[in-house]
Subunit: 190 residues, 2 copies
């Protein structure tokens, strides 16, 4: 992919994730990306919405790749869950509670206002759920359990991010991690 | 409270919840509230930020009052959790996936961009956690367990709202409700 396009996507991802979609202007993205303003329309002729769609899909995929690369390193389900929440907490603290889920802020902003972008966020969540389900199946769970545990993991992480960023505290993430491990343990016992 | 002020707060709550803080203009709020534009500055001299602060605090309190009035009607913890998630799912479907948590969208938008409003969202979440902890204590849990279960409940609900609104599906809410009941059961067994 063209280097300028890569920088525009990365800048869009960072700004949308931290400041929201509506709160981010294309000029700000061009400036952060050190790219000429016109290059945004060169790569994304549909302007902000087309860029938003591309950012949601690419940052959603990158985030899943990152999380699964860690989870895959831990064959034990309980340990994998613990590592995922600890890493999320460490990353939040390291970025002064700015960097959490790359698409949650946009997802809430657009859910009732922009159907194109809503579909993009839905596609990302659907992909995460399917990847997580397959991953937990390879770790020994049946499909229905694997899907239930994946939904538990993603919803817990997303909700904990909301509270942790607002309260500038890792407590919600650590509590959510404990609850997901309890849910996983109850599945493994059966 | 003055009737016009009540309508402005209600309109602000509805528009911020559905469309976000940045995506909502004061003119839109005045129009939805059927109030003269100038009345917003009369009641909220600090403009949009002062109105945002008042909306976050009042809608956060109303939402907690609503949830606790239902939860209090169910002395059994497992039943109370089930009712809370079922009601949240019904309300989402009834509003075409628009109305979920009144402050989550703003919370993510302002977490790294507006310290006054971030503190308002943190105060609301802190109040919810304290009220929930006391509530579960009256239902027989020790304080540390009650706080853990409250955090599990709130983070699961918030995260499930993100996925449910994006995917226009109640599946994430129902899965999260099952996981929270599992977490509660494991506490009650000990």
């Amino acid at each position: 992919m063209n280097d300028t396009k890569v920088r525009i996507l990365a800048a869009g991802a960072e700004l949308f994730r931290r400041n929201g979609y509506t709160g981010t202007g294309l000029k700000q993205i061009a400036s952060t990306a050190r790219a000429p303003f016109g290059s945004i329309y060169h790569f994304f002729p549909g302007g902000k919405q087309e860029l938003g769609d591309a950012v949601i899909r690419s940052s959603g995929e990158s985030y899943a790749d990152l999380v699964f690369s860690i989870v895959d390193g831990h064959p034990d389900i309980i340990e994998a869950i613990e590592v995922a929440f600890t890493m999320a907490a460490d990353s939040l603290v390291a970025t002064d509670y700015a960097d959490a889920c790359p698409i949650a802020t946009i997802a809430l902003e657009v859910a009732s206002t922009n159907e194109v972008l809503r579909v993009a966020t839905a596609d990302v969540f659907t992909d995460w759920i399917e990847r997580g389900t397959r991953n937990f199946q390879t770790k020994g769970l049946h499909e229905a359990e694997a899907r239930q545990l994946t939904l538990t993991l993603i919803t817990s992480l997303e909700g904990a991010f909301v509270l942790a960023r607002a309260m500038r505290s890792t407590e919600p993430l650590l509590a959510a991690g404990r609850a997901v491990r309890t849910a996983a343990r109850s599945m493994l016992e059966w």
